[in-house]
C-alpha cells in the first residue's frame, strides 16, 4: 500500500550558533488516504516542528535528515520549487491560533479570494472568485457567508476565525490537512463543532488529516491511528482502539492514568513524576528512564528501538506493559 505522506527515519537538527541540537531524532510516520492520524505529545516533544518540516516551513538553520515521501515519491521539503506545487493544492496546514494566522488589516473576503486565485488553474473573474468564496464559507458552516466577506478578523470569534482558516485551506482542495492544535485556543463547545467539521470534511472529500494535539480525549474521538511522541521520538503507535485499550509504553500508560476524567468520580490522580528533559540533557539511555516506574538497569545504558507487535502497534520500551496484563496493577 502506498501512503499519502510518509516520513521515513526523519530527523531534525537545529543549528544554534556553533551548536547543533537534535529536536526530532528519527521518526517514522505515515498517513493513508482518508485517514485521520493523531500526533500526540507534551510541549517541546517536537510534534509541531515535525509537521512544519514536512510542509517546508522551517528556517535555514533546521537540518533535515531521513526521507519524506509524498504519494510514494521522495520530496525535498526544504526546496521551495518542489513545495510551491504541493503546498495548498496537495497538502495544507492550519494552526493553533487562527487570530494571528489571519491578516488583521485585510477583510476576510479578500484573504479568502487570494487563496482561491492562487490555487485556481485558470484565471477567475471577480464575480467568480466571490461566488467561490461564499461557497467555501458556507461549506465550513459560517452563518451568513455573504455578509462575513466584508468582516475583518477581529470582528470574528475564535471559532469563526478557525472556520475561515479551514475554508482558505479548502480553496486548494488538498488531499492532506495538517492541523496543528486547531482547537486548543477554543472553548469546549466550539471545539466539538470544529471536530465535527473535520470529520465531515473527511467523509465528504476523503481528505486525510494529521491532527497534532496534546488532548488524548480529542484523539480518542476522531482519530483512526495515534502516534505518541516523547523527546523527539515516536515511542508508541498503533490504532487508537489498541493503544487506548492496552497502552504498552509506560509514558502512554502514565499519560492516560494522569487524565482527570469527566466520567469518573473524584480521587487522587496518578501523575507521571518529574519533568520532560531538555534536548541538551539527553543521555545514552531511554529518554523516559528518569520518570519511569518500570525502569531496569538496561534502560540506563541503551536506547530501546521501536518494535512492531502482532496487531500493528509499535512500542519502544525494554520492559513494556504486556498485552494481557491489567495496567491497573
Amino acid at each position: 500500500m502506498t501512503y499519502l505522506l510518509e516520513l521515513d527515519d526523519m530527523a531534525l537538527n537545529f543549528a544554534i550558533g556553533a551548536l547543533e541540537i537534535p529536536i526530532v531524532r528519527g521518526i517514522d510516520l505515515s498517513v493513508s488516504k482518508g485517514e485521520i492520524v493523531g500526533l500526540v505529545g507534551e510541549s517541546g516533544c517536537g510534534k509541531s516542528v515535525t509537521c512544519m518540516a514536512a510542509m517546508g516551513l522551517l528556517d535555514d538553520n533546521a537540518k533535515l535528515g531521513g526521507e519524506v515521501r509524498w504519494k510514494g515519491n521522495a520530496i525535498e521539503p526544504a526546496k521551495d520549487s518542489t513545495m510551491s506545487t504541493l503546498r495548498g493544492s496537495e497538502m495544507a496546514m492550519i494552526f493553533q491560533d487562527p487570530m494571528s494566522a489571519l491578516n488583521p488589516v485585510k477583510r476576510i473576503g479578500k484573504q479568502l479570494m487570494e487563496a482561491i486565485r492562487i490555487n485556481s488553474p485558470s484565471r477567475l473573474g471577480r464575480a467568480a472568485l466571490r461566488k467561490r468564496a461564499v461557497e467555501l464559507l458556507g461549506d465550513v458552516g459560517v452563518p451568513e457567508p455573504e455578509k462575513r466577506l466584508s468582516a475583518y478578523p477581529h470582528q470574528l470569534s475564535g471559532g469563526l476565525s478557525q472556520r475561515v482558516m479551514i475554508a482558505m485551506m479548502l480553496a486548494g482542495d488538498p488531499d492532506l490537512l495538517i492541523a496543528d492544535e486547531p482547537t486548543t485556543a477554543l472553548d469546549v463547545t466550539v471545539q466539538a463543532q470544529i471536530m465535527e467539521l473535520l470529520l465531515d470534511l473527511r467523509d465528504r472529500r476523503n481528505m486525510s488529516v494529521i491532527l497534532v494535539t496534546h488532548d488524548l480525549g480529542v484523539v480518542a474521538e476522531v482519530c483512526d491511528r495515534i502516534f505518541v511522541m516523547y523527546c523527539g521520538r515516536i515511542i508508541e503507535s498503533g490504532s487508537v482502539r489498541d493503544v487506548f485499550a492496552n497502552p504498552r509504553h509506560p509514558y502512554t500508560h502514565g499519560l492516560l492514568a494522569s487524565l482527570p476524567r469527566v466520567d469518573h468520580a473524584a480521587g487522587d490522580l496518578s501523575p507521571v513524576p518529574g519533568v520532560v528533559p531538555l534536548p541538551t540533557e539527553l543521555g545514552l539511555g531511554c529518554d523516559f528512564a528518569d520518570r519511569c516506574s518500570r525502569k531496569t538497569p538496561q534502560c540506563e545504558s541503551g536506547s530501546p528501538q521501536l518494535t512492531v507487535g502482532a496487531n500493528g502497534t509499535a512500542c519502544s520500551c525494554f520492559n513494556p506493559f504486556g498485552q494481557q496484563e491489567d495496567p491497573e496493577q
Binding site: 465535527e196 480525549g217 474521538e221 502514565g254 476524567r261 469518573h264 473524584a266 501523575p271
Partner: protein, 337 residues
C-alpha cells in the same frame, strides 16, 4: 436553606453581585458609553473547608466573579461577606489584614513571578510586606513551605526562567500559602501546564487542602478537572449562574441544557465510548447586548416561547442543587414535583 449550610457556615457569601464595565462602544455618536455586564446578579456561598468550582466558557464572567471577592474589580451592586464581615466599600487600610487571609493564584505563573528575584526571595516577600517574624524566621518558614509544595533546596536560589512551568506554579502556590490564608482563589491554575504536570498540581492542591484545611475557590473551563477537585460547583453563562450544587449531583443529573451540552462536549479518552453529543449552535453572544429573556435561549435546543419573554428564576432541583431554567425538571422524588 439546605442542611449542608446549617452544618458548616459559609466562609464567603455572595448575594446578587453585579460588575459592570464601560466600553468604547456608544449607542449613538455622542450617546452614553455602552456597558458590559460581566457579572449580573450572582449569588453563592463558599463553605469552610470545601473546594468550590466555577466553570464556564471564556467570557462568561468566572474570573471577574473571583476578582470582585478580592476587590480587584469593584462590584457595583450586591453584598459580599467574608467570615461574616461585609467586604464592599472597605478602604485599603481595612483590606490589608484581610489580604493575608485571602490569596490569589493566577493562570500564568511566569507572569505572576518577578523575573529578577530568586525563588526563596519571592516566597519571603509576603512575610516582609505583612511584617511577620524575624529575618531568620521568614527564611526558615519559606524553606518549609517550598518543601511542602515539592521543591528541593537546590532550586531555592533559581530564577523563575530556570524553572519549568509546573515548578513555577509550585512557587506561586508556596508564595500564596506562606501567609496561611483561609481562602485560596485559584484562577485557571493548571490551564497553561502540560497534561502530566496538570495531574501533579491537582494532587498537590488536594494534599495541601487536607494538610492546611484550606477553602478553595477554583475557577476553570475544564469540567474534568473540576469534577476531580470540587465538592460543589457553579456553572456560569454570560454573567449568570445557570446551575449550582454538589459536584457529584450536577455530573450525575445535569438539569440546565447548557450544563448538559457542556458535559457532553468533553472528549472522553476512550475510543469505544462515543458520547451522545448535544451540539450547540454558534458561540456565546456578546455580554454587551445579552439576549432578552433567558440568556441561553438563542442556542438552546429546548427553548420555548416563555424563554425569550422572561428570565427564569432559580429553581430547586434537589438537595442544594439549583438551576435557572423554565424547562428544567426536578429529580423525581425530591424537590417540589
Amino acid at each position: 436553606m439546605t442542611t449542608e449550610t446549617q452544618l458548616s457556615d459559609p466562609l464567603v457569601s455572595v448575594r446578587d453581585a453585579h460588575c459592570v464595565f464601560k466600553t468604547d462602544q456608544r449607542e449613538t455618536f455622542f450617546g452614553p458609553a455602552k456597558k458590559l455586564h460581566a457579572v449580573s446578579g450572582v449569588s453563592f456561598d463558599i463553605l469552610r473547608g470545601e473546594v468550590f468550582g466555577v466553570v464556564g466558557e471564556s467570557g462568561c464572567g468566572k474570573s471577574t466573579t473571583a476578582k470582585i471577592i478580592l476587590d480587584m474589580e469593584h462590584a457595583s451592586e450586591g453584598t459580599i461577606t467574608f467570615d461574616g464581615m461585609p467586604l464592599l466599600g472597605l478602604s485599603d487600610t481595612d483590606w490589608k489584614p484581610l489580604r493575608r487571609r485571602i490569596q490569589y493564584v493566577f493562570q500564568d505563573p511566569l507572569g505572576a513571578l518577578d523575573p529578577r528575584m530568586v525563588v526563596l526571595a519571592q516566597v519571603i516577600e509576603p512575610l516582609t510586606i505583612h511584617n511577620i517574624g524575624t529575618t531568620e524566621d521568614r527564611r526558615r518558614k519559606a524553606g518549609e513551605i517550598l518543601e511542602q509544595v515539592g521543591l528541593r533546596a537546590h532550586q531555592f536560589a533559581k530564577f523563575p526562567h530556570e524553572l519549568s512551568g509546573g515548578q513555577r506554579q509550585r512557587v506561586v502556590l508556596a508564595r500564596a500559602l506562606i501567609l496561611e490564608p483561609e481562602l485560596l482563589v485559584c484562577d485557571e491554575p493548571i490551564s497553561a501546564l502540560d497534561v502530566s504536570i496538570q495531574a501533579q498540581i491537582i494532587n498537590l492542591l488536594q494534599k495541601l487542602r487536607r494538610e492546611m484545611g484550606l477553602t478553595i475557590l477554583f475557577i476553570s473551563h475544564d469540567l474534568s478537572v473540576v469534577r476531580h477537585l470540587c465538592d460543589r460547583l457553579a456553572v456560569m453563562y454570560l454573567g449568570k449562574i445557570v446551575e449550582q450544587g454538589p459536584a457529584d449531583e450536577i455530573f450525575a443529573n445535569p438539569c440546565h441544557p447548557y450544563t448538559q451540552a457542556l458535559i457532553s462536549a468533553i472528549p472522553v479518552p476512550e475510543p469505544d465510548i462515543k458520547s451522545i453529543r448535544i451540539s450547540l449552535e454558534g458561540e456565546p453572544p456578546s455580554p454587551i447586548d445579552p439576549p432578552k429573556g433567558c440568556r441561553f435561549h438563542p442556542r438552546c435546543n429546548m427553548a420555548g416561547p416563555e424563554c425569550s419573554a422572561a428570565e427564569p428564576s432559580e429553581m430547586t432541583m434537589g438537595s442544594g442543587h439549583i438551576a435557572a431554567c423554565f424547562k428544567a425538571v426536578p429529580k423525581t422524588g425530591e424537590g417540589q414535583l
